[in-house]
Amino acid sequence: MKVILKNIGKKYEGREEFTLRGIDLKIESQDFCVILGPSGCGKTTLLRMIAGLNSITEGDLYFNDKRVNKIPPKDRDIAMVFQSYALYPHMNVYDNMGFSLLMRKENKKIIHERVMEAAKLLKLEEYLYSKPSDISGGQRQRVALGRAIVRKPKVFLMDEPLSNLDAKLREHMRVELVRLHKTLGSTTVYVTHDQTEAMTMATKIVLMNDGKIQQVGKPEDFYNKPANIFVAKFIGSPTINIIDGSMINGKFVSKDGIIKVSPSEEDGKLLEFYEGKEVSLGIRAERFESGGKLGDTFECTIDVVEMLGKEKILYTQLENGHELLISVPGHYEYNEGEKHSFGYDISALHFFDSQTGERIN
């Protein structure tokens, strides 16, 4: 089922400004769409509006060309997994999963079939008659998923379902959720603040901040072509290095003059317009070069070394105290206090307009 948002806006009674405004989004059928953003950016509100739990102040919401603004949640053919799972504590797992079908007065046989199907899929057969308070967090989460699956909805909505799990379980469930999504062939809208989840699970990411959409696209696009400084900083761990400066004679020179970079040909053409203007340079930690042809280089002192196994993150400081994060393969020797020179991979430079934050190249 396609989900289309046209100019959606939300304003709460009693508040001056709009919480969300001008949201336009097209989610294709069978997309795994992740709405990503920091806390308070409005993503949960958006999800709840798609679910029908919050009213839509302006704009239109379409499920497959049908306008559903005013339709109550139970008639929208959706299912939702809540952050806290919201399992009915006084019912056992079986009843929890079958509740929605019971409300629709389904045939008992059908209810049984569907519940067993979901239980098998999620490996919950052992716990069918236990109460939510008797099972672990991971199992509860699977029950919440099971409850959603049983409805066989056209759209799955998930509100940070993995945030209450420990790290290992989270890794495992990430894969499980994607597998589930493919098996069921439904459209999934998934809200999270964790960019790893977004990058690994999504077919389409919607990054939001301050009630506005910052960028929409595939995970690769976010990483390789962030649309503005906010997106660049949000996606990618460790965080991207941003250096402020301006274009002087076709070369990027940082404010303090220490860093000078000659951009590539294509970038250079686009940057001509910005001659003399303020520009910010973004470069990912793993795109610095050491050894071999270096071109423009800079010198820095290593402050802290974070050992991650397959790579090392160097927290380096330039002469003026500006910090740069550099990622190097784990088997290289780097120690704290050492001074090194690094160069840049000029095909991996991101240029942004300092004023607007928008991407130039």
């Binding site: 709840r48 679910a51 029908g52 739990l53 109550p72 949640p73 139970k74 959706i78 299912a79 939702m80 809540f82 952050q83 806290s84 919201a86 009915y88 504590p89 006084h90 509740f99 929605s100 409300m103 629709r104 409850r147 409805r151």
Partner: protein, 297 residues
């Protein structure tokens, strides 16, 4: 010379060993606690004793002469309207509990889950009116009763009593039920709405079952109230057949015509026992309910 090795006594307690002062204080603590326990048990024991003391006639004797006898109980059952009073009290208590539950479960839910005009004001107003002693309206109750009963003879004084008790409890009970329901996550409401429940179904199938412990507490409270209340029945109920236990037993002490203190003791004992058993059985819930009530305000 062989070294004598003393067997070390193992110190198993998890806490630090007590100093001398500590030990003395502990002894004092026990003394205080036991003294108070005696201060409670002795009078109660006297009460129990006096119910069985056959040497007493119309007045209680609390001295050395004691013969065990059940004759006061016999007197209670045969010569007074004790059984009738018990029946009355139970009916009234039951009716109050049921009516209170019906009304308060709705208001508790509404105040917890909905926003509406006048919510804060009405909540405040209810709490303030709650503070006025029920007694304040006593003159009015009399007259209201005579008006209503002349229009509808089926309306008994006991029904009036039930209504008064219910009305007096609405504000307080709504408040604590609201506090309890507030602690139930609204995400459950959302999940239920997505699963297909209307407002009433959410109330009936989800919220009320979860709020059962609090509802039970409220029902218990409303049930026990009429047992313990002496004032209103004495004022409102006119004929001895309609008395509740409190009013009825009092006639065994107050009215010279029906004076029989030992029977009062017997009746008191019988009344107290079920209530005490209920309290003891529900000790845990009471304590946590009280504490929660105070934590939530």
């Amino acid at each position: 010379m062989k070294l004598l090795r003393k067997k070390e006594k193992l110190y198993l307690s998890d806490k630090r060993p007590l100093s001398i002062t500590g030990k003395i204080l502990l002894v004092i603590t026990y003394i205080i606690l036991i003294s108070w326990a005696i201060a409670i048990l002795w009078p109660l024991f006297q009460m129990v004793l006096s119910a069985f003391n056959g040497k007493q006639e119309q007045y209680l004797m609390l001295n050395d002469q004691f013969t065990f006898s059940l004759k006061h109980f016999e007197y209670l059952f045969n010569n007074t309207l004790f059984l009738q009073w018990t029946k009355n009290t139970i009916l009234i208590a039951l009716a109050t509990a049921v009516l209170t539950l019906l009304i308060v479960s709705l208001t508790g839910y509404a105040y917890s889950r909905y926003r509406f005009k006048g919510k804060k004001i009405s909540l405040m107003a209810m709490m303030l009116i709650q503070a006025i002693p029920t007694f304040a309206g006593i003159t009015a109750y009399f007259t209201m009763y005579s008006v209503i009963s002349s229009i509808n003879p089926g309306f008994t004084r006991q029904m009036m009593l039930v209504l008064i008790y219910t009305g007096g409890g609405i504000a307080n009970n709504t408040f604590i039920l609201k506090g309890y329901i507030d602690s139930i996550s609204t995400e459950l409401d959302d999940a239920a709405k997505i699963d297909g429940c209307s407002n009433l179904q959410v109330y009936r199938l989800i919220i009320m079952p979860i709020a059962r412990p609090m509802l039970a507490l409220i029902a218990l409270w409303s049930f026990i109230g009429p047992f313990m209340d002496y004032l209103l029945p004495k004022v409102l109920l006119t004929s001895p057949e309609t008395y509740t236990l409190a009013a009825g037993l009092f006639t065994l002490i107050n009215d010279v015509r029906t004076l029989n203190q030992p029977a009062f003791a017997a009746g008191g004992l019988l009344t107290a026992i079920p209530v005490v058993i209920l309290f003891i059985a529900l000790q845990k819930e009471l304590v946590s309910g009280l504490a929660e009530g105070s934590v939530k305000g």
